[in-house]
Symmetry: C2
Subunit: 242 residues, 2 copies
């Protein structure tokens, strides 16, 4: 909650520096469904999504695919792969996307000597971890309706914080198969739940366009068994409002 002012300033400083680094690079354009690591050449695999969506996945031996995280514009991709030399073979674009990268041979590694930058990255990583833990809690305790509600609300909140939307409508470039892979459901069941939510005038998803019709009911679905997360503090906002 109350991070000391000095630390907070240092975090913000690190963020500004990184923003500048990313901003000064020539953005890279990727088509739908491209593996980031296969396209973007080098740079130790740390990028920032300027536009478009992407996801991190794991292929499973039975041919299924689990999506473990989803990135929206403004998200940094591949900090966790920073210390591995390999390209990002597990990150996939979900839409047309443009990526910014860190210029320089070793990319981020050499920047880590700067305390404000390494603090910022630690903060980013811990945010990502909290996201993973929230998703985990949702999947292990909510039914299909609740999971979809929480996903829709999560994207809504993230896009609002980034000031990419203002209303209750946004574009969701996931197919129903991908939604299933993300929430641990089959495509068939995702489809059924979406239909029932539309019939009940709670939520509509048509042609990759989400419209929240009844916010309160959606919240109660998502929080029926998930905590209100009271300590998503101001710091998250100020820093994440990127």
């Amino acid at each position: 909650m109350d991070i000391p002012v000095g630390l907070r300033n240092e975090l913000a400083l690190g963020q500004r520096k990184i923003t500048n680094f990313f901003g000064s690079s020539a953005p890279l354009t990727l088509q739908v469904g491209e593996i980031v690591g296969a396209v973007a050449g080098c740079c130790r695999g740390t990028y920032r999504l300027r536009t478009g969506w992407a996801c991190k996945f794991q292929n499973l031996p039975n041919g299924r695919r689990a999506i473990v995280d989803i990135y929206v514009p403004g998200d940094v991709i591949g900090i966790d792969a920073l210390l591995r030399n390999r390209p990002l073979t597990d990150v996939l674009t979900l839409s047309l996307a443009t990526l910014e990268s860190i210029p320089g041979r070793d990319g981020l590694i050499e920047l880590m000597a700067d305390r404000s930058i390494s603090l910022y990255f630690t903060w980013l990583l811990s945010e990502y971890q909290r996201r993973a833990h929230r998703l985990l809690a949702a999947i292990s305790s909510l039914d299909a309706r609740g999971r979809i509600a929480m996903m829709v609300l999560d994207f809504h909140a993230r896009l609002r914080r980034r000031k990419l939307i203002t209303g209750s409508t946004y574009s969701l470039p996931l197919t129903q198969v991908q939604i299933g892979d993300y929430l641990g459901l089959t495509m068939v069941h995702v489809n059924r739940v979406l239909r029932s939510l539309r019939d009940e005038r709670i939520l509509s998803l048509e042609r990759h366009c989400i419209t929240i019709l009844d916010l309160d009911q959606l919240r109660s679905l998502a929080q029926r068994e998930l905590k209100p997360s009271s300590n998503t503090s101001r710091v998250d906002h100020t820093l994440a409002a990127d």
Copy 2:
């Protein structure tokens, strides 16, 4: 996979430094079921488990509790809370435990100025994230038998890497309720699956003691739908063999 030697050495250096810091502190003893943040006073909430197990949880409004990560001896706790001032109210001991902490007022924050240390923490955080993603993939794609198999194998591997066990038996201080909270199942169903695995001579869990009876069959259960994780590389081993 192949991290440059220089970077690898720097990571190992950071690890040694941190190990020394932790080693030089007077360890703290906690009983079963204590909230770490409520007991351990200060120190910005970064600790290392010297003995015993702990977990990170989220309380859900319906009274249920989701366990999102489990820590075994040697694990560092609270790096993700490093940048939040609050005590660790979401970490709970699962057994009698002793904790080491970082001496000094601001704990880790001031150590982050050291590049090798901040690299090591970034590495640690990314390892934890991979763990969360593995759990996520398992829960969203495996049935109850598979999830339990994967949990048992995961603990087995982690304890072996730390050289805390050598055989195929270890102590698992979780109750069946907690196993359920961790894997997204009810206690009743955990119990039934454990019984069937015992009947089939695959796995035995009695009085908090796990014995793996048929490793191959357990693996095939866990990997029926989960990837063989081929890129858990040597670096993990050398660094994690702590």
